[in-house]
């Protein structure tokens, strides 16, 4: 009893002594942060149709465990609370409410998916809880005016598509383009990006736009239709399975257009290999992150750290999985932001620091690609490099292509 009443008093004395004795910056906390702990919330699809992305959440958890083992962030341990939302928006809402109101997390970090994050965006912004580094490539997360508490991470699909279009206008100005895209918001954002990028020439350069449903078992019919229109450039905006099928079928039909495939469907192990390396020669794409399956990074200091982390904290994990690379890079960036926060662990300061990243390069990004944010740009990654598939890996070519250059 005595101990109990004494403890706060002692603590108060200690704090006063500290504050007056040393000229320490004043510690400021919101819910979810203390002298010993920072609580971070997350939702991921560990079950259900998108469960292949669950690996991102698991990687983040392992990464924070590594940080804790090394002493934490400015002496504070991270408590990562991650719930399964099955990629179902109503469930995301329920879990995020629980994270904010019962677990009292400081921020919600890297929740996965476009529809799921859309469902919680208004709630988190009205509660003034950071929705940091959303794991989705939609453009809408970069909107600091309307949603100052939401920040994306990935390069958005539309900008990526614009970069391909600009590249084509420069390198192949008389291209006749056929486009295969997934019939949903994801595919349509790419389509919009290409049209934006081509501008006035869009109608003369695009010969055919063909969409497929993600549930279609085989996309043969669409490839045949595209081939009949005889374009010399085929742009493929697909998820991994259909992307692999498109590359494979195009080759099997003996059709050899210049192929450009979106970054999200350019993984060596899950797209190029199933499609057949012999079929994938010469395919173009763009990238900002290193591919874990690519031997050219074996001696790269950054990737060496990634591999060491995987060996120790995720033994048996498939290092070629793009989700792991993403999870590592985004976690490293969050740790950087929290370090920058120092002892001012308020939600407002978290957003302020997240919007003050300057030329930050996590271990997983390609050489030259750097993260920059500001109070008017909530898009951390805005740069890409073109790459061409050769042998069993991607070869980078050309310099950095960036969104900002697009705007000029």
């Amino acid at each position: 009893m005595i101990a109990k009443t004494l403890r706060p008093a002692l603590l108060a004395v200690a704090i006063t002594v500290f504050a007056s004795g040393a000229a320490l910056a004043q510690k400021k906390y919101d819910a979810g942060a203390t002298d010993t702990e920072i609580r971070i919330g997350n939702t991921s699809p560990y079950s259900g149709p998108a469960s292949s992305y669950g690996v991102i959440g698991r990687t983040e958890e392992a990464f924070f465990k590594m940080i804790n083992d090394k002493g934490g962030i400015n002496g504070r341990k991270i408590k990562f609370i991650s719930y399964d939302d099955g990629y179902s928006p109503p469930k995301t809402v329920e879990q995020v409410r629980k994270l904010v109101e019962s677990d009292e997390v400081l921020l919600v970090f890297s929740s996965i998916g476009t529809p799921t994050n859309s469902a919680i965006q208004k709630y988190l912004n009205s509660k003034k809880v950071p929705q940091l580094f959303v794991a989705s490539g939609a453009k809408k997360w970069d909107d600091p005016n309307n949603f100052p508490w939401t920040m994306g991470f990935l390069l958005d699909f539309q900008t990526e598509a614009q970069i391909y279009a600009k590249w084509l206008m420069k390198e192949k100005p008389d291209a006749k383009i056929g486009i295969l895209y997934q019939n949903d918001d994801f595919g349509k954002e790419y389509l919009r990006g290409v049209k934006d990028g081509l501008g006035a020439k869009a109608s003369s350069m695009i010969m055919m736009e063909e969409s497929y449903e993600v549930s279609e078992p085989s996309i043969d019919s669409h490839i045949i239709k595209l081939k009949a229109a005889n374009p010399d450039v085929l742009m493929i905006f697909a998820t991994i399975k259909s992307g692999a099928q498109a590359i494979k079928r195009t080759a099997e039909l003996g059709w050899k257009p210049l192929q450009i495939i979106n970054n999200g469907a350019s993984f060596v192990s899950s797209v190029m290999k199933p499609a057949g390396f012999e079929n994938a020669q010469g395919v173009l794409s763009a990238a900002y992150a290193k591919d874990g399956a690519d031997p050219q990074w074996n001696d790269d200091p950054g990737m060496k750290r990634v591999y060491e982390f995987l060996d120790k904290y995720m033994p048996g994990a498939d290092k070629t999985d793009g989700g792991i690379i993403h999870g590592y890079g985004v976690s490293q960036t969050l740790v950087k932001v929290l370090e920058m926060c120092g002892d001012d662990l308020t939600r407002a300061n978290v957003m302020k620091q997240a919007a003050s990243l300057r030329d930050y390069a996590p271990d997983t990004l390609l050489p030259g690609v750097k993260i920059n944010t500001s109070s008017t740009s909530y898009a951390p990654i805005t740069q890409l490099r073109m790459q061409r598939f050769k042998g069993e890996k991607w070869e980078l070519f050309g310099g950095l292509l960036s969104r900002d250059a697009q705007r000029e």
Binding site: S47, P49, S51, S52, V55, N183, E209, E210, S211, Y212, E213, S215, E216, P217, S218, D220, S221, H222, I224, K225, A228, I240, K241, A244, Q245, E252, L253, G254, S269, S270, V271, K273, P274, G276, D318, D321
Partner: protein, 292 residues
């Protein structure tokens, strides 16, 4: 004209996928009078088993046979453990059971083999077949296997005692019991066979759509459409239905403006509904008359 021929040929090739699946769907319908929503997932799981066996160094045909046996026993086991206790339960209870099974198998496969897509070998090669780049030797092989399977089933049901017993158990269970047929085991046998046929379908489909836990999602819907079109009671109808759906889907997608880009999947669903309204027994199905 070339586009037309190409789309028809590609439709036949895709139709072979649906036909395989429809055969498994018809098989289970014959045995239990319900559509098994977990059929596709069972086939997917079997395909993963065969893939795993091949990873362990067993040659293709060895893995094929082991998988067939495993699937047959697995199908019987599922019936004995899960659905025999539900035999007298209402249809909806069974449907809930199928959906539960669907989720369980899908998630377990993801847990064991993860969700990245995998290459799956084909025993037939993938060179162009008879000079046509639209149908590969694999797809030709697939059509061949489907036809063989169909013939095998026909002889089994028409000319063997156990086939006859199974038909009797499915169509008039009470009379069948009275003449001494163990109807309960006939149903289990039906599950085993459907599961084995499904595994063949899975192993044939995987080289085309790649192996992953969700590979059967779309295929099963088209398989249902094919089975309904051809007649749920006729294996032959199911196979013909598969090819028809494949061709119809491609042609509608190519030539009906607007449909091509937006409504390709609903075509299968529209087909199911129109067949059920116009000719509920399907093209080749047995007309069922119930005494009231």
């Amino acid at each position: 004209m070339e586009l037309f021929t190409n789309q028809v040929l590609a439709g036949i090739a895709t139709g072979a996928i649906y036909a395989c699946m429809a055969l498994a769907v018809v098989m289970i319908y014959q045995a239990i009078d319900h559509l098994n929503f977990a059929q596709g997932e069972m086939a997917m799981f079997s395909t993963f088993i065969s893939w795993q066996l091949m990873q362990w160094g067993i040659p293709y045909w060895g893995a094929f046979v082991i998988t067939l046996v495993f699937s047959f026993i697995g199908g019987i086991a599922i019936e004995r453990i899960l659905f025999k206790p539900l035999a007298k339960a209402p249809v909806l209870t069974n449907v809930a059971g199928f959906i539960a099974l669907f989720a369980i198998i899908n998630s377990s496969a993801g847990l064991i083999w993860d969700f990245t897509i995998k290459q799956y070998p084909t025993p037939f090669g993938s060179a162009p077949f008879l000079g046509s780049q639209l149908i590969s030797t694999h797809q030709a092989g697939m059509i061949g296997v489907t036809v063989l399977l169909l013939l095998g089933l026909y002889f089994f049901f028409q000319y063997t005692r156990i086939g006859l017993a199974m038909r009797a158990a499915a169509s008039v269970p009470e009379s069948a019991r009275l003449v001494g047929i163990n109807t309960s085991w006939m149903i289990a046998l039906g599950w085993g066979m459907a599961s084995a046929i499904g595994s063949i379908a899975g192993m044939l489909i995987a080289p085309v759509v790649f192996l992953e836990p969700n590979m059967m999602g779309g295929v099963l819907i088209y398989g249902f459409a094919a089975a309904v079109l051809g007649g749920l009671t006729s294996p032959f109808g199911g196979v013909v239905g598969g090819f028809l759906v494949g061709i119809f889907e491609n042609l509608a997608g190519t030539y009906i403006p607007g449909v091509g880009n937006e409504l390709k999947l609903p075509i299968a669903l529209a087909l199911i509904i129109s067949v059920l309204v116009v000719k509920p027994a399907g093209l080749f199905g047995r007309h069922i008359v119930k005494r009231v």
